[in-house]
């Protein structure tokens, strides 16, 4: 590893000062540290956000479930509040990677990175969450902008994510067994106003909403109502599966998610 400075501020303001001085925000480091080891990035300083109390933990904020940006996956998975309000979100967090990853990785880190096969983006998008940063609030529909691309500006920090509480929701992931990323994962959320379906792991553009399934499920919330698989154009093809295979999985995992949501 090359040499860099490390700071672990205890206040958001100190962190923002360090970041505006050229520091790179650090969540759990489960993606960023390997990236530095491969020299795909070489920041001169890392600003560890996990020592900032206001960025950690889960609470109800009005009618939304608010998760601090530096909250670890293991803590979301174990949270009694998340299990009570949005059990599908707790279940998703408990399936991310492996125990070692869940003990360090954070929700803010995951959605700032926006890996096309990460689990969290599907929950944030399907639940229509709001991403709160140090500067503004960003609707999930505006936040995810393609492969490893988000609405975040340079140096902008995810302070928290506010999730509307659905009537029903479920996440179903077809696990890539070595990495335990989603080969394809589907998060389905049913609200009074309709159903939202977000798919991760499948598209070359990263997480997306499957609008045909949303329309069908909004009028009939049952696995039988899930439409035919989307077209394979634009789906990821790699040694683990062809675009056609992933397109098929989108339909299958959506059906399973609807069935699991009950």
């Amino acid at each position: 590893m090359y040499s860099f400075d490390y700071v672990k501020p205890s206040s958001l303001q100190d962190a923002l000062d360090a970041i505006s001085g050229g520091g790179q925000p650090l969540g759990g480091g489960q993606t960023l540290i390997p990236t530095l080891k491969q020299r795909l990035a070489m920041p001169e300083a890392l600003v560890d956000l996990t020592g900032i109390a206001e960025l950690k933990g889960v609470s109800m904020s009005g009618d939304k479930l608010s998760v601090g940006g530096a909250t670890r996956h293991a803590d979301v998975a174990a949270s009694a509040e998340v299990k009570a309000k949005i059990p599908a979100l707790a279940a998703l967090a408990g399936q991310i990677g492996d125990p070692q990853v869940r003990n360090r990785g954070t929700i803010g880190g995951s959605i700032a990175n926006n890996d096309p096969a990460a689990c969290y983006p599907s929950a944030v998008l399907a639940l229509g969450a709001t991403v709160r940063t140090d500067k503004r609030e960003i609707a999930a529909d505006d936040y995810f902008q393609g492969l490893f691309t988000t609405a975040l500006e340079e140096g902008e920090v995810v302070v928290g994510v506010d999730f509307p509480v659905p009537e029903k929701a479920a996440y179903q992931k077809f696990v890539q067994p070595a990495s335990r990323f989603a080969l394809t994962g589907v998060f389905v959320a049913k609200f009074a106003g309709g159903v939202r379906v977000a798919v991760t792991g499948a598209s070359q553009d990263g997480v997306f909403r499957w609008s045909e399934a949303e329309a069908a499920l909004s009028s009939n919330f049952s696995a039988d109502a899930v439409p035919a698989a989307p077209v394979a154009d634009g789906m990821i093809g790699d040694i683990h599966g062809t675009p056609e295979y992933r397109a098929h999985l989108v339909q299958v995992m959506t059906k399973r998610a609807v069935a699991a949501a009950g």
Binding site: S3, F4, K8, I33, D98, P99, R180
Partner: protein
Amino acid sequence: MSKKPVQFRLNGAERAVFVEGGQNLLDTIRRGLGDTSPKWGCGQGTCGACTVLIDGQPHLACLTLAEAVEGREISTNAGLGANGLHPLQQAFMDHFAAQCGFCTSGMLMAAKALLDRNPNPTRDEVIEAISGNICRCTGYEPIIDAILDAAKRRAA
């Protein structure tokens, strides 16, 4: 860039060590403190051979910066066997759960975290607990058997 002091507990003993900026915990334990029981496998957070416990929970030492564990309690496989073989270590021997042995330290620490939290796990819970640890020799079955047997022995 100047070195920085870091203090933490390693297997129950207070340790202080100077680290380079950006130095990871694995390097710090192995080269800085001479405990070579956590293994350097992939160095990319994929294999789990470097698994250590931080305050009782499994973490990848290769992806953890040494400066981030200031004041924390670190446990490694060397500490596990400090007072005679731990039931997990004995069970791994009895079930031939190690062939080349490179993954064993990490497997043992992931298994210890599980049994400390859940003394009577199901087979599926064992599989989940070691899902971040790759073994290229055993096919996993003897490892799973050993962890389940160790749980039984600890209960007995």
